[in-house]
């Protein structure tokens, strides 16, 4: 594979603490603009589950110079797209727009960074919208919160790691405008955010625009990044749920992964291990459980709550999740998974297999980078989580450097004793 050059990235930190990264990419006349705030649902207060996500919705309800629905109207009316999402460790807001809308979009992000205009009315409205989001994505369909909502309370003991980030309906309904203002003051300081821009722009003139629109946002105290550390799991944990909509049972197991900040190489080897285990029809678990034993209908393995291995701080999990036929017991699925992990740990990984797993992973990284939004989100996330937007391009070489021994070592730590398991019973049948 040809070597990939690391591009030039311009960065600056404004007087108010806002960190800015700009990357030029002239392939198409579009630009991605993302703001990452360093607060996710792990930081929301007890008694207010789901608040970080609810607050994300409130950031679209208008601000001092922007009316309700005006942000989406202006972005889409300029020919762009926009959205936001809430993760364990950050909340992001992002747009992909024609380059003609660069300054407009910066103005919009600056206006809500000064403060959203939260009212009783739009709060009540967005509580109802979020409840419908939870109904459609979780409550009204099979495997709705499985396993991202169901596994953490088994795998973790503390509120930040264990609770449901979508939130409890009653706690959502109890949210007040004062809660929103407090949350904004505490977590949405410019010094707690990163602004990332990637596209068909000139980096220097873009930085000038950023200064013009963001410099006058007042500096506020930036919260200290908390530690969410918990002791390792040393004996298996189990939980069980019944899914009223599911026709086939399922099982998920989670293992703690190396801290990406302090053990980046071990962490990356675990990413390669997940790929080797379950990505594509040639992977070990697909072959063994789906095609050979027919003990799983589908199986996946991934790091992080939502499948991005690099976006989550310690502690986080490698999750293996399978839907299986009613005639197969969850323990049979778990035993097969454990046998395959042992096979990696004791038998190792051949050179041919490792090479193709890495080739596929590198290709996936390239495909993500080819999309304006994917590239913008990745570089802003890496700047925030790892202090290095360049990692988007450096990953290629780092992944290529992962060795069979490192992958074997990663599998060694994934024992039956160190796993947390959720068994999903099918409510239909």
């Amino acid at each position: 594979m040809p070597a990939v050059a690391t591009p030039v990235i311009e960065r600056t930190t404004l007087g108010n603490g806002l960190r800015v990264v700009v990357h030029e990419d002239h392939a198409a006349p579009v630009v991605g603009i993302a703001v990452y705030y360093d607060v996710g649902f792990r930081s929301e207060p007890e008694g207010r589950t789901g608040f970080a996500h609810l607050f994300e919705h409130l950031m679209f309800q208008g601000s001092a110079n922007v009316g309700k629905m005006e942000h989406p109207r202006l972005v889409q009316g300029a020919g762009g797209t926009m959205n936001g999402s809430t993760h364990p460790d950050f909340t992001n807001y992002f747009q992909a727009v024609p380059t003609s809308a660069l300054e407009l979009t910066l103005w919009l992000e600056a206006d809500r960074m000064r403060a959203p205009a939260v009212t009783e009315e739009n709060l009540a409205n967005q509580v109802a919208v979020v409840q419908n989001e939870i109904r459609v994505n979780v409550l009204n369909r099979p495997y709705g919160g499985f396993p991202w909502i169901e596994l953490p309370p088994v795998a973790f003991d503390t509120f930040p790691n264990a609770h449901n980030g979508y939130g409890d309906f009653h706690e959502l309904e109890a949210a007040t405008v004062a809660d929103a203002n407090d949350f904004f003051t505490r977590f949405y300081a410019p010094g707690n955010a990163v602004l990332g821009i990637s596209g068909d722009v000139d980096a220097n003139s873009t930085l000038t625009l950023v200064h013009q629109h963001f410099d006058d946002i007042k500096r506020r105290r930036t919260p200290k990044r908390p530690s969410f550390a918990e002791p390792a799991v040393t004996s298996e944990r189990r939980g069980e749920i019944t899914d009223a909509h599911a026709t086939a049972p399922a099982v998920a197991a989670g293992w703690r992964v190396p801290d990406p900040a302090t053990q980046p190489e071990q962490h990356l080897a675990t990413v390669v291990l997940a790929e080797l285990l379950a990505e594509g029809d040639a992977s070990r678990l697909q072959q063994r459980l789906v095609f050979r034993d027919r003990s799983a209908i589908s199986i996946e393995a991934y790091l992080g709550s939502f499948g991005d291995p690099f976006e989550q701080r310690d502690p986080s999990l490698l999750t293996i999740s399978a839907v299986h036929p009613p005639g197969t017991s969850p323990d049979r699925v778990l035993s097969a998974v454990q046998e395959e992990l042992d096979r990696v740990a004791t038998g190792g990984v051949g050179g041919e297999e490792l090479a193709r797993v890495i080739a596929r992973l590198r290709a996936q990284l390239l495909k993500q980078r080819d999309q304006t939004i994917g590239r913008t989100l990745a570089l802003t996330m890496f700047e925030q989580q790892h202090g290095r937007a360049e990692r988007v391009w450096e990953l290629d070489e780092r992944v290529a450097a992962v060795t069979a021994d490192q992958v074997r070592a990663a599998a060694t730590s994934m024992t039956a004793d160190s796993r947390s398991v959720v068994i999903l019973k099918a409510g239909v049948r």
């Binding site: 040809p2 990419d25 392939a27 006349p29 579009v30 001092a64 309700k68 629905m69 109207r73 202006l74 889409q76 009316g77 020919g79 762009g80 797209t81 024609p98 380059t99 003609s100 660069l102 300054e103 407009l104 103005w107 600056a110 509580v127 109802a128 919208v129 419908n132 989001e133 109904r135 459609v136 409550l139 009204n140 369909r141 099979p142 495997y143 000038t208 013009q212 410099d215 009223a244 909509h245 599911a246 026709t247 086939a248 594509g280 029809d281 040639a282 789906v290 095609f291 209908i297 839907v323 041919e352 193709r356 797993v357 080739a359 596929r360 590198r362 290709a363 080819d370 999309q371 304006t372």
Partner: protein
């Protein structure tokens, strides 16, 4: 540096020029049409192969469903595992999917591996063997997957809508039954493959960091020997005329939301009304900044994601308006949705609304085709439909010509509630009575 006045909203700059990719085309001796576009950005390449695959029987639906799951289960030279490994080694992916009209094989690889990727594709086309043990296992897996799909509200709603719109026509069939899947043998799959996986009528699109002439040569080398002999063509009968009116209700006891769908015939992409309709529909419910989102989400909180768009099949285009609404507000949500349709069919949209929708459709077309994968999928569809890459220039030009009057005429024709039918999937015991006040309910079982 001087600060901008935060109360002064920046103006939009001039819109970027629309660039249409240069497409190199070639038709091979066996009839396969090939189109190639160079698109750098990352050193990858994307391929899309589209084949006519319509059938007139439910058995064909079942066979096609199993075929897409087992096409890569073995060839003359590879078993399933070694084939998957060979694709993976190219930094690649290869998969099959189908709708009522087409079989689509999609793949990608590192650009330097285009030739071996095409080689594996040719091998599958030439000698997919559908081994009995693989087919047996995949059939049972499909039965479980279909059972899961049929407890998912969005699938149930799509199925109900297809039945309501197309009656007994093949377009009405969404998923095969377990019995139909179990009746598919590997011999049947080999016959289907032999009869229908043919270069005649097929289209292959290659997009990526590869010189077009080199891409065309590579395709010719890999697929020039693909034979069209023994090919069977199947023409679908015309779908029945859409019968508007009424509310069809699929009972889903205990459902905490109702999947609300309103369907009507829609314009094809080559219809003279298409651009005007697209703009009216965008204003109505085609994007987040639409009237329906403002009403039933941002004002009333009835739902998370209302939407309206077109489903294009070869012989029918269907307008589908959808929202999953909280069970207890099903009737008022239906009232408001119908109101917004009636309103856009009765009153011209504002100039500002029209211009915003126009910039949105032009801008998002550019965004959708700015990546290799997006361009490959879009281009394959356009060329296969006979519109060609020129659509990427012609559609924005047609959008530019739409006036509030022509948008109104298109809305009156295509967005009128009187032309539409309603389908609800929800808890009949709770929603039946309130909804009955709005129209006659016909129970629908799937």
């Amino acid at each position: 540096m001087s600060a901008a006045d935060a109360t002064a909203r920046p103006e939009l700059g001039p819109p970027p020029a629309i660039t249409v990719p240069r497409v190199a085309e070639r038709t091979l001796g066996n009839g396969l049409r090939v189109a190639a576009v160079r698109r750098g950005g990352v050193p990858m390449v994307e391929i899309r192969l589209r084949l006519p695959f319509a059938g007139t029987t439910r058995a064909h639906l079942a066979r096609t469903t199993v075929l897409t799951e087992t096409m890569l289960s073995g060839t003359a030279d590879h078993d399933a595992e070694s084939l998957a490994a060979a694709v993976q080694a190219l930094g690649g992916a290869l998969g099959a999917g189908a709708d009522a009209d087409r079989l689509v094989l999609s793949g990608s690889a590192l650009a330097e591996n285009l030739a071996p990727l095409l080689g594996l594709l040719a091998e599958v086309i030439d000698s997919a063997s559908y081994p009995a043990d693989e087919v047996d296992g995949e059939r049972e897996r499909l039965v479980e997957e279909i059972a899961i799909a049929r407890t998912t509200p969005s699938t149930l709603a799509a199925e109900a809508l297809a039945v309501r719109a197309f009656g007994t026509h093949p377009y009405a069939w969404h998923l095969p039954t377990p019995e139909e899947v179990r009746a598919v043998s590997s011999a049947r799959l080999r016959t289907l493959h032999r009869e229908r996986v043919s270069p005649a009528g097929a289209l292959l699109v290659v997009v990526g960091d590869v010189a077009p002439a080199r891409a065309l040569d590579a395709v010719e080398k890999a697929l020039g020997g693909w034979s069209a002999a023994g090919r069977k063509t199947v023409a679908l009968p015309a779908p029945p005329a859409f019968a508007p009116g009424g509310i069809s209700l699929v009972d889903r006891p205990g459902s905490v939301q109702t999947s609300l769908r309103i369907a009507a015939p829609g314009p094809r992409r080559d219809d003279p009304d298409f651009a005007a309709f697209s703009l009216a529909n965008t204003v109505f419910a085609g994007y987040f900044s639409s009237r329906l989102v403002a009403n039933i989400r941002e004002d009333k909180g009835y739902t998370y994601s209302p939407h309206s768009g077109l489903d294009h099949a070869e012989h029918a285009t269907l307008l589908v308006v959808g929202a999953d609404v909280a069970t207890e507000v099903t009737a008022p949500a239906l009232v408001e949705t119908t109101y917004e349709m009636a309103k856009i069919a009765s009153l011209p949209v504002g100039t500002d609304e029209l211009d915003a929708a126009r910039r949105y459709l032009v801008g998002t077309l550019a965004l959708a085709t700015s990546s290799q994968a997006g361009l490959a999928t879009t281009l394959a569809r356009l060329i296969d439909n006979g519109l060609g890459a020129a659509y990427l220039r012609e559609h924005p030009a047609a959008l530019a010509k739409v006036t509030t009057e022509t948008a109104y005429e298109a809305a009156r024709r295509w967005l009128a509630p009187s032309a539409a039918a309603t389908v609800l999937v929800g808890d009949a015991a709770v929603i039946g009575e309130p909804v009955a006040a709005l129209g006659e309910i016909t129970p629908l079982s799937l």
